[in-house]
């Protein structure tokens, strides 16, 4: 009945392709991270640990790592909380709510670059709509993207625009497919709203919520378009996160070897929250 050859033939091309196109760059990247290839020096050899030494001693890298931590924690934390809240608001079924469900699906289809340019224009200090309306309301008009205090929060805000709906849509799907009987039982037992959420609803949607948080963590570490379009990593180093720094070092400044080492750092740094979230999802 079972045809080993057929299934082997069906699987091998994809497995081989994935292996080659990921392993080759990974190995070459790892090799480059020990090399000293720069704009002026083209040779790969000698292989040394100097790039990694530089990473640990460079205070710029420390700033960048801190920025990355702030960005990821703020973006993922707020997106998970607000997304959960938004999903809970949409559980009731009526015509108005279904309109909202469609509206909150929209950002999921919008390419990062398009949201970046729109928000860049909206947050523009002299011509943007947002500051114009703040002025009309006699409210302070922050220099959103150019001031050191507001630049990072502004980028997080724009990230929320695409991230909160992702979490909301996923959690809502889980809420709607969760069995109704336990809630009914909790009601009969006289459980209050918080107890019902804490002990009945939340356990039912926890896997979906963790998965949504995982997806947003991956997205936060990979975020590039927002930083390039909105702030260019500035002012100063204020919004330079690790992924953007890797890009700057390798592509802009041509420090290939150093950039490759930073990319390895990015991989390691990123693994930490993913493993934590994964372990949390395994916990009963």
């Amino acid at each position: 009945m079972f045809d080993r050859r057929f299934f082997g033939l069906a699987a091998v091309p994809a497995f081989l392709a994935v292996f080659i196109i990921t392993a080759v760059p990974l190995v070459i990247g790892l090799g480059l991270s020990f090399s000293s290839v720069t704009s002026t020096h083209n040779g790969v050899f000698p292989l040394t640990l100097s790039n990694y030494g530089h990473i640990f001693s460079d205070s710029e890298v420390h700033t960048v790592l801190l920025n990355t931590l702030i960005y990821v924690v703020l973006a993922v934390g707020l997106e998970t909380l607000l997304g959960l809240g938004l999903a809970l608001l949409m559980t009731r079924k009526n015509r108005a709510i279904s309109v909202f469900r469609v509206i909150f699906l929209l950002p999921l289809t919008v390419a990062g670059i398009a949201s970046a340019i729109s928000w860049g224009a909206l947050l523009n200090t002299s011509q943007g709509w947002i500051d114009y309306f703040l002025k009309l309301a006699h409210l302070p008009q922050p220099n959103w993207l150019a001031s050191p205090t507001t630049a990072m929060p502004s980028v997080v805000l724009v990230d929320l625009w695409s991230g909160v709906p992702v979490v909301a849509v996923i959690v809502l799907a889980a809420l709607l497919s969760a069995p109704k009987d336990p809630i009914e039982a909790a009601l009969v037992d006289g459980a209050g709203p918080w107890a019902r959420f804490r002990y009945v609803t939340f356990p039912a949607i926890r896997p979906a919520l963790v998965l949504a948080a995982l997806l947003r963590t991956v997205a936060a570490f990979q975020q590039f378009a927002l930083f390039q379009v909105l702030t260019g990593g500035g002012p100063g180093l204020n919004t330079t996160v690790l992924n953007f720094y890797v890009y700057q070092q390798t592509i802009v400044f041509n420090n290939i070897g150093y950039g490759a080492a930073l990319a390895m750092l990015l991989l390691v740094v990123m693994a930490v929250p993913l493993v934590v979230l994964f372990l949390y999802s395994r916990r009963r």
């Binding site: 699987a11 760059p25 990974l26 938004l86 999921l108």
Partner: protein, 297 residues
Amino acid sequence: MSIQAQTRPVSDRPARPAPDRALRRAGRIGGGTLTFVLLIIAAVFVLLPLFWLLSTAFKTPAAAFALPPKWISKPTTGNFSTLLTGQFGHSILNSVIVAVASTAVALLLGIPAGYSFARAPVRGGRIINSWFILAYVAPPAIFIIPLYIIYQHLNLLDTYYGLVLAYETGLLPFTVWLMRVYFADVPRELDEAAWIDGCSKMRALWRVVLPAAWPGITTVGLLVGLASWGEYFGAAILTGQRTQTAPVAVYSYVGTVTSNWGELAAAGLIVVVPALVATIAVQRGFVSGLTFGAVKQ
């Protein structure tokens, strides 16, 4: 199932039993008005940039910068005709080529592999699994930057092949993974019945299993297509004059001296609309696809 059906008499349904109503109330947080206010605030936040794109794309350069914003000005399609007759038209074509090619390659290789993964015990399956997850979640920089160096030597920079190949580092593992989930939902008995009836394995897959898994395939196709259509990071690094895709072209309109928000918005809108239309057309299974099939819709 049957026990539940017995405890809830059918005759109760029109009368709406009390627990049901309380249940519905329990499902929402706060009162109806507060819920609405919060939802409207969130909706305004979500719609604001989309409204900016839509309205600015049809404005003349002067109207695009006007404050207070001109809500109803004479709409012009001038921005679109300027864009489409210039370099941007070429970029859209590039984006279409790259999105179609990336999706086709991912599905062509990923569907058989996903089927095989769902049905056959694969030796070293766990290792392959972990490798696929790593490939999917790893920041693109990990692959794209070494590829940039490799492509310099192989003359693959600024080519369609190079960009599509780079996209497959993430898209192909994603496709295999998701197709495996969808094929696992197709009952095994279906293939076996076809084999017993004398179908070859290939024919059974083509005629019986694929149609059953079709919703999953369209979902994967949509997600992969959307990802390659809107991708920016890899395209910014690996393309040049010849193969520049639309998202990269959009960025080239940002912050130039002759910056014209009307054209910028029109370019952004051209990137957004096809993705929106495709999503509405497919829609079903979008969420389950986003979550690797973990959350059913």
